[in-house]
Symmetry: C2
Subunit: 148 residues, 2 copies
């Protein structure tokens, strides 16, 4: 139900790849290693650069490097960079919709948004690339058991 665009997914993969070392990676190189089209990876890296998640180095031998340590980059940031601001519905608060009278639900959507935002903000890139999938939220596991 909650769709994440492919870009957001790609974005995470690219970031995860780059997080493995501090070397400069060109778009072509990343593309080759991830088995993705060069043009697509290039586009994704441009987007990530614009949002300051990666730093671009111009010129020959240029490329991209993570802007921060993987521990300091959250999944929420990556998704934000690729798909725009997190919001589960269109009426995100600023614009008032005509149906507002019926839409007492709005406050709750916003609450839900916050919850999801929080959940994603807590997962760092470092956790994403952990070889053995790390458990994201210990409380959730304690109360519900380990997800299948």
């Amino acid at each position: 139900m909650l769709r994440l665009s492919k870009f957001a997914d790609y974005g995470c993969q690219v970031m995860a790849y780059m997080a493995r070392d501090k070397a400069v990676h060109s778009a072509t190189e990343v593309a080759a290693n991830l088995g993705m089209a060069a043009a697509t990876v290039s586009k994704i890296l441009k987007m990530l650069a614009r949002e300051n998640l990666v730093v671009s180095l111009l010129g020959a031998k240029g490329g991209y490097v993570l802007a921060r340590h993987p521990l300091e980059i959250s999944v929420a940031e990556i998704i934000n960079a690729m798909d725009g601001p997190i919001s589960i519905t269109e009426c995100s608060g600023t614009t008032s919709c005509e149906r507002e009278s019926f839409c007492s639900t709005r406050g709750n959507w916003q609450g839900i948004n916050h919850i999801i935002q929080d959940a994603l903000a807590k997962v760092t890139l470092a956790e994403m690339i952990a070889p053995k999938p790390q458990i994201v939220n210990m409380r959730a596991i304690r109360s519900r058991g380990v997800p299948a």
Copy 2:
């Protein structure tokens, strides 16, 4: 970033409308009251009925009623009914993708999915229609302050 389809949004509105009383509501009536196209509302109610969130009554004077008490219907269920199963990425576990070697991130997506799923499962329809927007998650507020 997390997009909810319009259908899911509509679905919640329709459910919220129906939750106000226990009367039988026809699709046309709901449509008129919510200011939506009759055909669209009809489609939405059919979907909700197929997922047993509303009960349909055939024939003249027929229509729809909530299948359960608003307190026992979660937002997650409504969204599920409209948009299919909750899943933030495409590789939801059963199918293995070719990129699996790079995709050590998968375990974490699943964890994130669970968190979001949980968050939505905790919000009931009754809470959604509460006149004063209820706070969904007290912990979140305590730790971060009331959302703007």
